[in-house]
């Protein structure tokens, strides 16, 4: 192809012009519609469009723009020297040389000063922008400087699962994504301008903390930052370090000392370090299991409680001998109070049996409250896999998603469901009571019963309110429980007062 055929004066085929404008999205709507109709009908035109687009696409082969830090610096230096340098060529130079020399002599010092101040300011500002990346991760660099431990944790499946759950449950911060640390220094200023209030606040807090560090600590943090940046897996390391530093705050110091090899024993015993990691994960998972239930909303807790009641009834219907014996025993014990509050003692016994079933799960921490039982009573079985699965089924979709996310496998899921059943019982049952909450329990009594116990002597009232701690062997039976009300998921009102 000759150069002449490429000239700007070469006539352009109107179809080519339309096709190119079409490809560039610059065709007016009317023309575009007309062209698209033609494209549908004319093979040749479609072929031409394809050819024009393909050659354009081949421009992808050209190297992309690559930032060059040295060039940026040399450009800035060149501009500064241009600022402070007198122009080499001026018209009428020989005529105005004298005044210009005087003028330059007067102007040069301020210009040099301006240059120096400007570059000092730029350098300081740039240094602060660089340090923002360090400050953003200050906790991670302070708390998690053992990179090998971080790599070990990052490949530990249990740890990763636990961190995921810890985020979901709120034990550690949910959002650990970088704010400005991953942005090139030159773009940080505009990134800062675009931050939302929460991000700004978090960054400002960390910046203040970083600024307040003792000089030697700050140097250590900066050294860790530099060391991490040199690693090929820097981004992954920083994520792990952030998670670890947040997790570490929830652990016993002894465990973290062992994990980080700070204790004398761990320094000489690698197995102790690994064991400490596994123990810390186990501790946290146990903690998470219990905490996760607190996030259940009241309506879900009520649903779970209703399922627990149904589980007892189902066991009775299926002829489960231990549960039948238990309910018979509790029914007998409930007669007096049932008569007092005008309730079926069988219903009271059924609800009381829930706590005994929950308590029967020896794998969990002691579930202390509940009626004392005679030694010769056949022990009831804990909640079975199918019964726990029944609880799972009634969970709202969002809670099911949360459960799947934090539990990981089937055994984890069952552990969480047991914890949630306990939480639901404690929150919903009229027998629930936490320590030192006599007043809460008193006000939770049904109004009629509350009027009657008011007339009892103080010791008897205290015994009554202590029911469930396992201290009183022959205390009064539990007060009346809530009636099932599936239609009322979020309704207010004190069900205990009904």
């Amino acid at each position: 192809m000759s150069a002449a055929s490429l000239s700007d004066d070469r006539p352009v085929d109107p179809d080519d012009e339309s096709l190119v404008a079409y490809l560039d999205g610059e065709l007016a709507a009317e023309d575009r519609d007309a062209l698209e109709r033609r494209l549908l009908e004319e093979d040749a035109l479609r072929g031409r469009l394809r050819e024009l687009q393909h050659s354009w696409d081949l421009l992808e082969e050209l190297p992309s723009a690559t930032p060059n830090e040295k060039m940026v610096e040399s450009t800035l230096e060149m501009v500064v020297s241009d600022v402070v340098r007198a122009s080499p060529e001026r018209p009428m130079w020989h005529k105005v040389r004298g005044p210009l020399v005087v003028f330059a002599a007067l102007l040069l010092p301020p210009l040099v000063a301006f240059g120096a101040v400007a570059w000092k300011r730029t350098a300081d500002y740039r240094r602060e922008l660089e340090m923002l990346a360090v400050a953003e991760n200050v906790d991670a660099y302070l708390q998690a400087d053992d990179l090998e431990l971080m790599r070990e944790l990052a490949t530990n499946e249990r740890w990763n699962r636990m961190i995921l759950a810890a985020r979901e449950v709120g034990l550690i911060p949910y959002d650990t994504s970088p704010i400005v640390a991953s942005v090139p220094v030159g773009e940080r200023e505009s990134t800062l301008e675009a931050l939302d209030a929460d991000q700004r606040s978090r960054l400002a807090t960390r910046w203040d903390r970083f600024q307040q560090l003792a000089p030697e600590t700050r140097q250590r943090v900066e050294a860790t930052h530099r060391q991490v940046r040199q690693q090929t897996d820097a981004a992954s390391l920083v994520r792990t370090m952030k998670d670890y530093s947040a997790w570490k705050e929830t652990l016993r110091p002894r465990l973290t000392d062992d994990m980080e090899g700070r204790s004398k024993e761990a320094r000489t015993d690698a197995a102790r370090r690994s064991a400490a990691i596994e123990m810390a994960i186990t501790d946290t998972i146990r903690d998470l299991t219990e905490r996760s239930g607190m996030a259940l909303d009241d309506a879900t807790a009520r649903e779970i409680y209703h399922v627990l009641e149904e589980i007892v009834r189902m066991r009775l219907r299926s002829g489960d001998s231990a549960t039948s014996a238990l309910v018979d025993y509790l029914e007998e014990r409930s007669r007096n109070v049932a008569e007092m509050i005008d309730e079926d003692p069988r219903d009271i016994a059924t609800r009381s049996a829930i706590v005994v079933i929950l308590r029967a799960d020896s794998g969990r921490r002691p579930f202390r409250f509940g009626p004392p039982l005679p030694d010769d009573l056949e022990p009831v079985t804990p909640l079975s896999h199918d019964e726990l699965e029944w609880i799972r089924v009634v969970l709202p979709r969002e809670e099911q998603r949360r459960l799947d996310l934090i539990a990981g496998d089937d055994s984890g899921r069952l552990a969480y469901l047991r914890a949630w059943a306990e939480e639901a019982f404690q929150r919903t049952s009229p027998y629930q009571r936490r320590r030192d909450e006599h007043s809460t329990r008193y006000f939770a009594l049904p109004a009629g019963l509350r009027d009657r116990v008011d007339l009892d002597d103080p010791a008897k009232l205290a015994r009554h309110l202590s029911w469930g701690r396992g201290r009183g062997s022959n205390g009064p039976s539990p007060p009346r429980g809530p009636r099932r009300d599936r239609g009322q998921r979020d309704g207010g009102g004190d069900e205990n007062d009904r």
């Binding site: 055929s5 992808e60 082969e61 800035l76």
Partner: protein, 209 residues
């Protein structure tokens, strides 16, 4: 005022106007790589690209006091870049005693040679093979270099800077209609320059991304 509100680079340039060195550094960082790429195709020689990009920034800084935000900052910057590239080409061509300003630039003859030799290869003198990535880039670069200066400029601004026809027109001092014709010629010419390589299988008929 419109551009001041919508274009963050305009706001940066206004700060440069107030002698804010940090703002100028931000602009350099933002545009340095893009300007170098532009100059690799617009300038008389690709090895001059960095020097020419620096020259553009120098002119921006010198012109800071007279800056008025009448367009997007990038449009203004690319106008300066176009002038710098054109002046450099003239200067080089003058030294090389080449009088035709719009003729392909000095290293374009080299580009032509590359295309010619590869075409020979494609014509059957050598076994046809698929070019490696760097070779493909060289072929495409040579094809771009064969385009006229204004076509190259319009192509770069459209393809790599995503400027609209009206913005390209503003940067190049042309009408939108002229830009439309210019880009049509650029695309058609590029297609005709590259078609032999596509037909012979030296470069693939689908872009490898």
């Amino acid at each position: 005022m419109r551009y001041q509100q919508s274009d963050p680079d305009v706001r940066l340039m206004l700060r440069v106007k107030d002698d804010d060195a940090g703002a100028f550094e931000a602009l350099v960082r933002r545009y340095e790589a893009r300007l170098v790429r532009l100059m690799q195709h617009l300038g008389p020689r690709s090895d001059m690209a960095e020097d020419l990009a620096q020259e553009v920034f120098l002119r921006v800084y010198r012109a800071r006091k007279s800056y008025v935000p009448g367009a997007k900052f990038s449009t203004w910057l690319f106008t300066i870049a176009g002038n710098v590239a054109r002046n450099a080409s003239r200067s080089v061509h003058r030294r090389a005693e080449v009088s035709e300003v719009d003729a392909p630039s000095a290293d374009l003859s080299g580009a032509g040679n590359l295309l010619a030799s590869t075409v020979t290869e494609a014509s059957g003198l050598m076994p046809v093979r698929l070019a490696e990535g760097s070779e493909r880039a060289a072929i495409v670069r040579a094809a771009v270099a064969q385009l006229g200066e204004r076509q190259r400029m319009a192509l770069m601004l459209s393809r790599f800077e995503n400027l609209s026809y009206s913005e390209i027109a503003e940067a190049m001092g042309l009408t939108t209609k002229a830009v439309k014709s210019l880009l049509s010629r650029a695309r058609v010419n590029l297609k005709e320059l590259l078609q032999p390589y596509i037909d012979s299988g030296i470069i693939p008929d689908e872009v490898q991304r």
